[in-house]
Symmetry: C2
Subunit: 263 residues, 2 copies
Amino acid sequence: MFVIGERINGMFDDVKKGIENRDASIVQQVAREQIECGADALDINVGTAKGKAMENMLWLIETVQEVTDLPLCIDTTKYDVMSEALKACKTPAIINSSKSTEDELDKYVPLAVSNGASLIALTIDKSGVPSNADSRVAMGATIVTKAMEHGLDITDLYIDPVILPVNVAPKQPVAVMETLRQLRLLSDPPPKFILGLSNVSQSCKLRSLINSTYLVMAISAGLDGAIMDPTDRELMEAGITAELLMEKQIYCDDYIAAYLGNR
Amino acid sequence: MFVIGERINGMFDDVKKGIENRDASIVQQVAREQIECGADALDINVGTAKGKAMENMLWLIETVQEVTDLPLCIDTTKYDVMSEALKACKTPAIINSSKSTEDELDKYVPLAVSNGASLIALTIDKSGVPSNADSRVAMGATIVTKAMEHGLDITDLYIDPVILPVNVAPKQPVAVMETLRQLRLLSDPPPKFILGLSNVSQSCKLRSLINSTYLVMAISAGLDGAIMDPTDRELMEAGITAELLMEKQIYCDDYIAAYLGNR
């Protein structure tokens, strides 16, 4: 399971305050916690913090890189911020994200290639998030085609089939799983599949339970990882156990400790 | 989710003692606990309790029926015990179980029909549990054919594709899910699909975690219910949430309470 820690995001009050006050200790603490809990990469998003997005992003990257050399997942919709952020990353980064329109892919795939970065591409086009699996699969095909056209190694490509909150879009959890099953067959080797997991439980009451339940189901449909909260212990245990049952991990009595220790 | 409570089984020490001492209070307490936690039916198995299987079974049925009119799931390999037990059940019972050999199905399907009972048929033949999905699917087809031949309503048929412990049979969790996906397409309406869930974690350390994770995955592959422990709250919550994400339940903030209350 490839875990991109979601917590370094200015949408969270503590991180927002850390950014606005240039308080490195807050941000670095959140980074350390996620790493200790098993994050493989860290999402970096300035969110709604006051100040210029470019300056905030470059400060965040510098601050986080003082405590880790894990890959950073640069999360911004601004192309210029993305472009500068990638140059500031010491470890090959992950671009988060491109939509699956041809014009965006024609910008972001070459950006990934020239920076040695990976790319997360969302099954979203000008009309937004599709309501069914078929449209998501068609967008996935466009993404893979564009990756090949511009020379991005398929193993550096992540497709995110975009999960929506279950309380307002109840058919989407099934549609996303169907998308995963179909898109895995698109190329050999397939790209990797991830989700912005927490979105499934947006504005729901039992968020951790819904997140972990959907993580398990999505892994059984072919999900490789997620942007999620690694400090949620039950969520991590559910994901690790799902991979065990999919035979992606070998059973031993202490398989969770073994998984977390062998990173 | 159709939950058959697994706890009234002489393999558990408390129930074994209850049977051997003809102590109704122990058995009735276990029955009540499972019902309060959401069981839809109760498995009844004399296990390894001393004494004659027939007498133990009839006492168990009588004792449990003093506190509930839920369907009982009569769990014995002895045909004569099954036959007498069905007569003692006041509510239409569930036969647990027939193998999928033609000679067993030719005995148990008519027994179900003549008693107005439901039937659980296992994908097990003379060679045991198959190692792959294809053989399970072939056995499922035999089961459905025999049910139709003898006039058992397909909605009274439960197929159990038999999960084995993940620590000794690591490929089986995936094989069983593949079986569920294929067998659901076999007839319209399809039979119901259940599992003896706890078997997946036999001799494992984190049993509840493995059980609930596999329940979620199997529900996403088409499982309708399980013989399981309804007093395991996390297991029940995982199953209810899986059904929510499969759009079998409607979301409301208190969907778990709503599910458990609307039974």
